[in-house]
């Protein structure tokens, strides 16, 4: 077990290392371009050379990479070109906002999809199962920006129930909590289908297993068979998949944040990408990759811990 965790941690570190080198090379290898970006199109060549000299860009690439990586490890990602604020400060505020949105969405999505998945998995092929499956296919076919458009048309312009943007200009307060409804709804609608289908497949498989048949045949109440025998085994696979899916959830969060002007991690990354704010892009990408790799680690370890067949062998 410890050996597995250690091996996974080393793999994680290797991937982070490779990603950091790739990011550094894509954004900072071309220093002439960097100087132009910072000093503006109309700066003279002398100014650019002076700036490069002063900020240590004439050092060898390897040295600069090590310096950048060391600073990044200590949480110093440089200063944003666009906002002239330290990147770490920007990241901290925006990540917190995204964590709130993402956490809400994850919680709601998982609860809905577990209930629906189990309901359709225990009665494979029934009308209820088919209805849930079709609803899941339809909702996963509507990309976030399309469903956001449709929901805005309904709830903002037609019914006039909800605000159409979520800028939270006064900070996150309860009074403005209705601004969160649409972003959460959009993300839940897009994501619950996949989770539901995973749970359904796993539940359907468990229901055909020998031990569930034995439990039913020996006369246990149906509810008890489901709750104690089937469910616990059926949830192992969806659990790991749901954690792995955090990666995809994050992609969706970025789109939704841009659509609703929600000041989160995704909005920050998008603004940085359109402005070509190199340091912010580097930092955001590193954080995103860390989240993805770490969730993969948790899912691997979790699967081993949850599955007695692997744990005890």
């Amino acid at each position: 077990m410890l050996q597995l965790a250690g091996k996974r941690l080393i793999q994680m570190a290797m991937i982070m290392l490779t990603v950091s080198i790739l990011l550094f090379l894509s954004f900072e290898a071309d220093i002439g371009n960097l100087a132009t970006k910072i000093l503006g199109q109309y700066s003279t060549t002398d100014q650019r050379l002076l700036w490069l000299e002063k900020n240590g860009y004439n050092e060898p690439l390897v040295y600069r990479y090590l310096q950048w990586a060391w600073n990044a490890l200590r949480g110093d990602f440089g200063e944003s070109l666009q906002f002239a604020t330290p990147v770490s400060k920007l990241l901290k505020d925006h990540l917190l906002n995204t964590a709130i949105l993402g956490g809400l969405v994850f919680g709601i999505t998982v609860s809905i999809s577990l209930v629906l998945g189990v309901l359709s998995g225990i009665a494979e092929g029934s009308p209820r199962d088919r209805t849930i499956t079709i609803v899941a296919v339809v909702t996963t076919s509507i990309p976030e920006f399309a469903s956001a458009t449709i929901l805005v048309a309904i709830f903002v312009f037609w019914l006039e129930w909800l605000p159409g943007t979520s800028p939270f200009t006064d900070g996150l307060t309860w009074a403005d909590a209705n601004q969160l409804v649409l972003p959460v709804m959009v993300l839940v609608i897009y994501n619950f289908g996949y989770y539901t289908r995973m749970t359904r497949a796993s539940m359907a498989e468990v229901m055909t297993s020998q031990y569930v048949r034995t439990a039913i045949l020996k006369g246990l109440p149906y509810k008890r068979v489901i709750m104690r025998h089937a469910l616990r085994n059926a949830l192992i696979a969806p659990f790991t998949v749901m954690i792995l899916q955090l990666n995809y959830l994050l992609s969706g969060v970025i789109v939704t944040e841009v659509f609703f002007s929600y000041k989160g991690f995704g909005k920050l990354l998008y603004q940085a990408a359109t402005f070509n704010d190199s340091y912010v892009i580097e930092a955001c990408a590193m954080v995103a990759v860390f989240i993805a790799v770490f969730s993969q680690f948790v899912s691997d370890i979790g699967y081993t811990l949850l599955n007695p067949r692997i744990r005890l062998s």
Partner: protein, 318 residues
């Protein structure tokens, strides 16, 4: 031409190809959702093909004084705009149908490129094993560690159409801006999609590798490349066809998404994602302009997903 003549002369191969197609269609027709999906996909594909001969307005023509019109309204010159006009006075119906061609064209190219590379990577990793597998899987793991949109944003901001590299492509090589943008989008999507395809193909190949016909081919002394391309890949096609349908749907979403984030194809060509983001700037007045492309893209992706479901259903039945 080849199809009909071959069938008339009755070469066994050609007959079996035609028969196979008919059989596949007959099988699919047993799955109702598969047929619904196929109908939607066929509708959009045929729209993309015949859009030029339909009696539509010019998708780029701007009508003065006919801005942000509601659906089913006539402008002063008496031209009917069935879906209204956008913020620049262009006919939405026409832009929507012309957009289907752009979306389907670029997404098909991106899917084919990503799929070819992914299959090659996957079959090599699975069949060769050893270092090949280690290296290919590692590259895949690094690329898959990025959330997809983060990877696209990184690639397109470092090497996109407005970067030094993109400007170099445009100015030095003199390439058209649509081709540069489209090409870079295809490359970015390949980076994010090919590893996923490779992973699936590798899994299938690891299983197929142990079959007797592969051992037979090896004993016959066939070269590894031939075994991979002729023996392994065609036998892996069942699950791959289903996956390709789903994948095409994701690529369509991705391309429209890039358009929505203004990182996609350059204006003024109609691109569904771009149309949504243009409408978003207008709030209530842009609603009509956003809803149609949102419905269009949802229906196309839904069609592909239903088709994939139908195909999976019949492939499980066999």
């Amino acid at each position: 031409m080849t199809d009909t003549t071959a069938e008339e002369t009755g070469t066994p191969e050609a007959r079996s190809a035609g028969a196979k197609f008919l059989k596949a269609f007959a099988l699919l027709s047993e799955s109702r959702i598969g047929m619904i999906g196929l109908a939607i996909v066929v509708f959009w594909v045929s729209m993309a093909i015949i859009v030029d001969i339909l009696p539509l307005q010019d998708p780029l023509a701007q009508t003065r004084g006919a801005v942000n019109m509601a659906m089913m309204s006539e402008d002063k010159t008496g031209v009917m705009h069935w879906m209204g006009t956008d913020s620049k006075g262009r006919d939405i119906l026409s832009r929507l149908l012309h957009g289907s061609r752009i979306v389907l064209f670029w997404s098909t190219i991106a899917t084919v490129v990503a799929y070819s590379l992914g299959m090659l990577m996957g079959v090599t990793a699975g069949y060769r094993g050893g270092w090949w597998d280690e290296i290919i899987s590692y590259i895949g793991n690094v690329l898959l560690a990025f959330p997809q949109i983060v990877l696209l944003l990184v690639i397109l901001s470092a090497f996109g159409p407005t970067s030094t590299f993109g400007l170099w492509l445009k100015s030095t090589l003199g390439l058209d801006k649509t081709i540069v943008s489209g090409g870079l989008i295809v490359v970015a999507i390949t980076f994010s999609t090919a590893p996923q395809v490779a992973r699936i193909v590798r899994g299938i190949v690891l299983d197929l590798k142990t079959r007797d016909y592969i051992a037979a081919a090896e004993v016959r002394g066939e070269r590894p490349l031939r075994i991979m391309l002729v023996e392994l890949l065609p036998n892996a096609r069942g699950p791959l066809i289903v996956d390709a349908c789903l994948r095409l749907g994701y690529v369509i979403i991705t391309i429209a998404l890039l358009g929505f984030l203004s990182l996609g194809l350059p204006p003024p060509d109609p691109d569904w994602g771009k149309m949504i983001s243009e409408g978003r700037e207008w709030g209530y007045f842009g609603l009509n302009m956003m809803l149609w492309p949102a419905l269009a893209i949802s229906s196309l992706v839904l069609g592909l997903n239903l088709l994939a479901d139908g195909l999976r259903e019949i492939s499980l039945r066999d």
